[in-house]
Structures are given as C-alpha cells and as structure tokens.
C-alpha cells in the first residue's frame, strides 16, 4: 500500500510543483518506488519541471475517461529508477476529473508504489479538493509572507474537514509544513515573516525549510528537479526534507543568516 501525499498550499506560485517534483525525486533517490501526479488540469507544469514534456502522450484525464490505460500514461523518469510521472491534461479543465475516476487511478497505483505524490493546483476549488481528498499525509507549502500563511491556514481547515479521512472519521491526515523561499537576511530585516511566527500561526510540525535560492529557478528552467543539484543549498534542504518524511531526525539548516567567512569566500562554500 502506497502512502498518498498531497502537496498543497492554497496560494499559487509558492513552489508546490517544484516541491512535489523535488520530493518525489528525493524519495526515488532513496530507493522508494514513487509516482508524482499532476492534478493541475489545464495548467500543466509538472512535466516541464520534471523535464519530460516531450514524452507526454496520454494524461490523467485520458486515463480517467478510459481513453488510455494507466501504464500508457505513466512516464518513467530518465534520471532515477523508481520514479514515474502522471501528467495532467493541458487542453481540458478541472471538471474533467471525477472523484470516482481519481479513486480508481489511486487504487491501482497504490498496489505498485511506495509513495504517491499529488501535486495540487492552487486555490480551494474542485481541483485542489480532489487532489487532497484521498491523501494520507499533506505537505503544506508556505512562503514567509502573510497572504501565503493565511491561505495555508485555510487549506489546513479543509484538510481537516473535506477529505476522505475526515468524512469517514478515520485518523486525521498528517499535516506537514514546508516553508519555501526563506531568506534569512530578509527575515532579519523584517521584510519576511520569521520561521517561529509561521509555526506559531499554523501550529503544525515543520517538515522542511527551503532557502530562497538561484538553484531553484535554474532547476525549473532546465527541467531537472533541484534535488539532483546536491551542491546547492535548496537541493540539500530538499534532501533533508525527504529524510524527515522518511522518519529520520535531521537538524534544521539554512534558517539563520550567516555572514560569509573567509574560508567560504575563498572556496565558495555551499552554492546558492
């Protein structure tokens, strides 16, 4: 039985797809059989971030509507074994997804995989609710700014009421906080919310903190999930996040502003 994890946020542009791709890659690199599903029907992006956009033939909507088999739609990642991508449709909209259809796809995948990562669209409407409905765990991606924190708070409310686990009265979804685009020097200047404020408002456990990094944009545009860039701060932070997701205790990094010392200036230190 696979663990179904939804990557969600409410607000758009906070790094859901980047995080879903990076975490799925990280899990596969740790030997877990992983599939990452793009639920953003109509605004397909995951395939670009994963660098497989030229290999998309069938998509999630085709599978749900019976126009293709699941195995035809799954794309095997070229860089990591164990990693598969199920792309969204770019030509359809979210109404093409049905609860029964999504359930059937997840039921089939759960037999063959260890982890199913659902990349949720932004918003709190149908697409986002379908992405979270069957989840066992949720990774709530939040930027250190007030609007993002408020939207994450809203999503946490929906996770506690509008999901299968909530409706059946089962154990609640395990909620994890993933803070992205964290810039310690701007936090010190008061431009950004600090880590403790975010944790206090959202009151859920912190899974990871990804520093604002040039490596992320570079990775997106190259179609290589940033986890592969293990020299970079963001790549290392995602690796830490994956380790914590697998139950390991890893100390938090990159949350404090460090002035560059002489050595790191000479030798470059961690690349941003």
């Amino acid at each position: 039985m696979a663990k179904i994890i939804v990557v969600t946020s409410g607000k758009g542009g906070v790094g859901k797809t980047t995080s879903a791709a990076a975490i799925a890659t990280g899990l596969a690199l740790r030997g877990k059989k992983t599939v990452v599903i793009d639920f953003d029907v109509g605004l397909r992006n995951l395939d670009l971030i994963m660098g497989c956009e030229r290999r998309v033939v069938y998509d999630l909507v085709n599978v749900i509507q019976g126009e293709a088999g699941l195995n035809q739609a799954l794309i095997r990642d070229k860089r990591v074994d164990n990693l598969h991508i199920l792309p969204a449709s770019q030509t359809r909209d979210k109404d093409a997804l049905t609860l029964e259809g999504v359930e059937k796809v997840l039921d089939t995948l759960t037999k063959d995989f260890d982890f199913i990562i659902c990349d949720s669209p932004a918003g709190i409407e149908r697409g986002a609710q379908l992405a979270m409905y069957f989840a066992d765990e949720a990774i709530v991606v939040t930027n250190p700014e007030v609007s993002s924190v408020r939207d994450s708070d809203r999503i946490l409310g929906l996770l506690a009421s509008k999901t299968r686990r909530a409706e059946r009265g089962e154990d609640p979804i395990q909620e994890h906080l993933l803070i992205t685009r964290y810039n310690p020097s701007r936090v010190d200047l008061g431009d950004m919310l600090n880590l403790e404020d975010i944790r206090e408002i959202l009151a859920i456990d912190l899974l990871g903190l990804i520093p604002e990094s040039e490596a992320v944009l570079r990775a997106s545009n190259q179609g290589v999930p940033v986890t592969h860039d293990d020299d970079s701060d963001a790549g290392q932070a995602y690796a830490d996040t994956v380790a914590r997701l697998l139950g390991e205790e890893v100390p938090l990094r990159f949350h404090e502003y460090q002035k560059k010392g002489l050595l790191s200036r000479m030798f470059g230190g961690v690349r941003r």
Binding site: D153, R154, G157, A160, S161, E167, G169, I201
Partner: protein
C-alpha cells in the same frame, strides 16, 4: 416529501429576534397593592401606559398559587398588556398557559447542561461562512438564559466558523485570521485571537470576550463592535477581557 420550499410561496419564516421588553418584577402578590402603585405611576407618566407589553416576573414571590388572572386584569385596566410570565412554580406556569400567556424560565437558570466537547480534528460542524445565517430560531432569546456551551479544542483556521448558539464558547487553541467564533454567551480563547470574535450574538449584553493574546480583526458584544483599527495598539498581544458598559466596548488587561 421534499423539504425544499419555494421562498415566494412561504407564508412565514421564523426569525430569532431581540425586542425591548418591559419586565414587571412583582414583589407583592396582592392585586390591590399592585393596583394602588399602578394608579400612582399612571398619573406620573401616562405616556408609558399605551398598551405596553410587559413580562410579569414572579421569581421574587414565594407563593405556590398566584391570583394571576386578577393581576392581569389590574394591568390591563392600566393599559399594560401582560404577554408572559417569568419564573414561578409549576402551578403558576400552568395558570399562565391557561390565560394564554407565555412562560419563561427564571433568570437564574441552573447551568445543569454540561459543555459539549468537540475537537479540532475531523468534522466539528464547521459551517462555511457562505451559509445563510439569520434564519435560526433562538429559544433562549432573552439575556441570561444561555445554557449549554461548547468547548472546541484545536486551532480555528481561516475560513472556519465555530458557533455556540446557546451558551459560552471555549476555544482551547488559537483563532486565526479569517476565522470567526460566535457565541450566545461569552467567548473564551485560550490562545491567540487573530480572527473575529462575536459574543452575545442574541443580544446578551452581559457576555464578554476573553483571550490570552489579542490580535482580533473584530470584537463584538451584543452587536457593539470594535475593529482592529479601533483597538489601542498597546493592548495588542496581551491578555484581555472585553466587556460592554454603557453601549461601549471596554477592553481591559487580564490579570
């Protein structure tokens, strides 16, 4: 049978409401003494006695049987319309009903109903804010009759609404920005209050709001409200109580 009724074809709707009501607190059960006092009052302020509806409060009387019919007749003779009786033992209740009057429980109702306990996880009956409010029938619409509160454990998150329609609401956790907590009685928040808190939603002016850390978007007691903008910035982040005095919301530090 469908419960859906076309709104245009409805003959009536039930609405909860608060109306100003004169309560006549009886300290004597003797109709003659009541008549004498009423006659005096009538000559002082005749404008008051214009078929004014009154509730006869008999809580202070310790008599199993009242000459309720005669008392009512005395009232009507002085242009007061008794509409209900408050308090009194069972025979009083029965005779009130027999006279076509309503009966209200005494003001000092014993708080016998235990608080209903709910947790923040799962379905805590969290109504989406889009649901139409205002068509709620409120049996205990008079101040002080609120019993049966509610305890909510967990964070009340943005977009959620937690209501205690009949008594106090206790939140063991924070109320986040964009969330709303409402109670017929008082609102107690054992955490940060960042959202909206409305106490005394049926008009109970005695209700209050209590919180450990004030950042509220809106505070309201019995319809009198203050926005975050109106709150003294020095009180923000502190533990406070909010009370209504002379139609003004007063916010004072706690402890």
């Amino acid at each position: 049978m469908s419960l859906k009724v076309d709104r245009d074809s409805m003959a009536f709707t039930f609405k909860g409401g608060m109306l100003p009501m004169t309560v006549m607190e009886l300290t004597s059960a003797d109709p003659e003494r009541i008549r004498e006092q009423l006659a005096g009052k009538l000559s002082q302020s005749p404008a008051f006695f214009q078929h004014t509806p009154v509730v006869l409060n008999v809580e202070k009387l310790d008599e199993p049987h009242l000459a309720l019919e005669r008392i009512c007749a005395v009232c009507r003779a002085h242009k007061l319309l008794p509409v209900a009786v408050r308090g009194g033992p069972d025979p009083v209740k029965q005779s009130a009903w027999a006279l076509g009057l309503g009966w209200f429980p005494p003001q000092e109702a014993p708080r016998s109903r235990p608080l209903e306990s709910v947790t923040g996880d799962g379905d805590a009956e969290m109504a989406e804010p889009s649901e139409p409010a205002g068509e709620v029938v409120t049996p205990g619409a008079l101040p002080g009759t609120t019993v049966g509160g509610r305890i909510y454990r967990g964070t009340v998150r943005s977009g959620q609404q937690v209501t205690a329609p009949e008594g106090d609401l206790v939140v063991v956790g924070a109320v986040n920005a964009g969330a709303e907590v409402l109670a017929a009685g008082s609102v107690h928040v054992y955490g940060a209050l960042r959202g909206r808190a409305l106490a005394g939603i049926h008009g109970d002016a005695q209700a209050g709001i209590f919180c450990r850390e004030l950042h509220a978007e809106l505070l309201s007691v019995a319809g009198n409200y203050k926005r975050l903008e109106d709150i003294d910035p020095r009180l923000l982040g502190t533990a406070v109580q909010v009370r209504l005095s002379d139609d003004q919301l007063g916010i004072t530090p706690l402890g």
